[in-house]
């Protein structure tokens, strides 16, 4: 570092006391190279400061959902308690208490993510006579299980629905069922109050809503599928 550069950096960094700063200020009037250095320093600083954007719309929601998905599910705590009982008692509890394991630990991460997203639907007011799907809020982009999900909420005939598009096909959960048994890829599944429907024509699309999955399938023709 040259002598001038050292003093210049100290000057620009506010390290000089008042007297020293005044002397350096005077020096700038006579020194072309220092003056140029100050000019370039300012140009570089302002150029980068102008890149200071606010975070894009939707990123806050994306972060909230991602953190929500990362929370340890309450079901894990229940499962830990059940595992203390005899194996027969565990099986009996599962058979006799429907919904005990409403969050299925075997669900693929992307399916589990969509179920969680469906539990946090934006509430909307039903508009009488509304016939077309109405988007609710801005689209969300997030990642689940290493896959990218694009999510959009809609109001369809008074129901709030989430439509998620992934970069991979949504795998059917183990307790899912094909819409046409033995044929095709379309499937349905239920997670407590949340129905899931994966259409045949778009395996990378998963639709979820707080209704029976079969009813969701019945809305197929009215859904704005990508």
């Amino acid at each position: 570092m040259t002598g001038h550069e050292g003093a210049l950096i100290a000057f620009l960094g506010g390290e000089l006391d008042a007297a020293e700063a005044a002397r350096f200020d005077a020096h700038l009037l006579d020194c072309d190279s220092c003056w140029q250095a100050v000019t370039e320093d300012r140009l570089g600083r302002v150029a980068v400061e102008r890149l200071r954007d606010t975070a894009p719309p939707g990123l806050t929601d994306r972060i909230r959902f991602a953190v929500e998905l990362a929370r340890p599910p309450a079901a894990r705590q229940r499962r830990a308690l059940v595992q203390l009982l005899a194996a027969v008692a565990v099986l009996a509890a599962l058979l006799l208490v429907p919904g005990l394991t409403h969050r299925h630990q075997t669900d693929p991460p992307t399916v589990a993510a969509v179920v969680q997203l469906a539990r946090y639907m934006p509430r909307s007011t039903e508009v009488p006579g509304e016939s077309k799907p109405v988007p609710l809020g801005a689209p969300l982009e997030l990642r689940a299980g290493g896959h990218r999900l694009s999510v959009q909420y809609y109001r369809v005939r008074g129901h709030e629905i989430v439509i998620a598009t992934s970069d991979r096909a949504f795998a059917m959960p183990v307790d899912g069922r094909n819409v046409t048994p033995g044929r095709g890829m379309a499937w349905l599944a239920q997670r407590g109050p949340i129905g899931l429907y994966c259409p045949e024509k778009a395996h990378t699309v998963l639709i979820a809503a707080a209704m029976p999955a079969a009813e969701l399938h019945g809305l197929d023709s009215q859904l704005p599928l990508p």
Binding site: I9, A37, T39, L43, R45, A55, L59, A74
Partner: protein, 182 residues
């Protein structure tokens, strides 16, 4: 169990309350460290997830600096995994001819700034200068905060910032001159 769930809700809420106010800062840092907006958003999400995992051990203090440190570490981890791509390097010997030696030239350059050109120029800086400029000029951290994050003297940060800014200015001035001639 309901009590455990309630505690979990408090933890989750406390985390978001403490960290979401710093989203803009984190996004600026991430944008400076990555090639495009989508990669920046992914880096921010990963940063928040790692922070959430470690929030139980966090003892308070400068939350912004804590988050930025996680962001830097996450970016380094991702960079080690990613395939290296060649970075375009500006020829500074050619740039040296276009010395911005008066305020008018500087103003012209600033007026004509293209955001992507500034990001490209930033990416072409030596890594230590680029990182200091991202943290101070882009994200708004002080030189002292930056020095603590990078574990180096404050004077070193000031020197890197100054030299980086000058290099950036010459690149942008030359880019502007080249564009005008084209």
């Amino acid at each position: 169990m309901a009590r455990d769930a309630a505690v979990g809700d408090d933890h989750h809420r406390a985390f978001l309350d403490a960290t979401l106010p710093h989203l803009d800062t984190l996004h600026r840092v991430a944008r400076g460290l990555t090639r495009d907006s989508a990669s920046a958003d992914d880096l921010v999400q990963e940063t928040y997830l790692r922070a959430f995992t470690g929030f139980g051990r966090y003892r308070g203090g400068n939350t912004r600096a804590w988050l930025v440190a996680i962001c830097l570490n996450t970016a380094r981890s991702q960079a080690r995994r990613a395939t290296r791509r060649p970075i375009e390097v500006f020829d500074l010997e050619a740039v040296a001819e276009h010395r911005g030696d008066d305020a008018d030239v500087a103003e012209q350059v600033l007026t004509a700034l293209d955001r992507e050109a500034v990001h490209d120029a930033l990416r072409s800086l030596p890594p230590e200068q680029r990182l200091c400029i991202i943290l101070t000029d882009l994200a708004g951290l002080t030189a002292a905060e930056t020095a603590e994050l990078l574990d180096c003297p404050r004077g070193t940060v000031l020197a890197r910032v100054h030299r980086g800014r000058r290099r950036l200015a010459r690149i942008l001035t030359a880019a502007g001159a080249n564009r005008d001639r084209a």
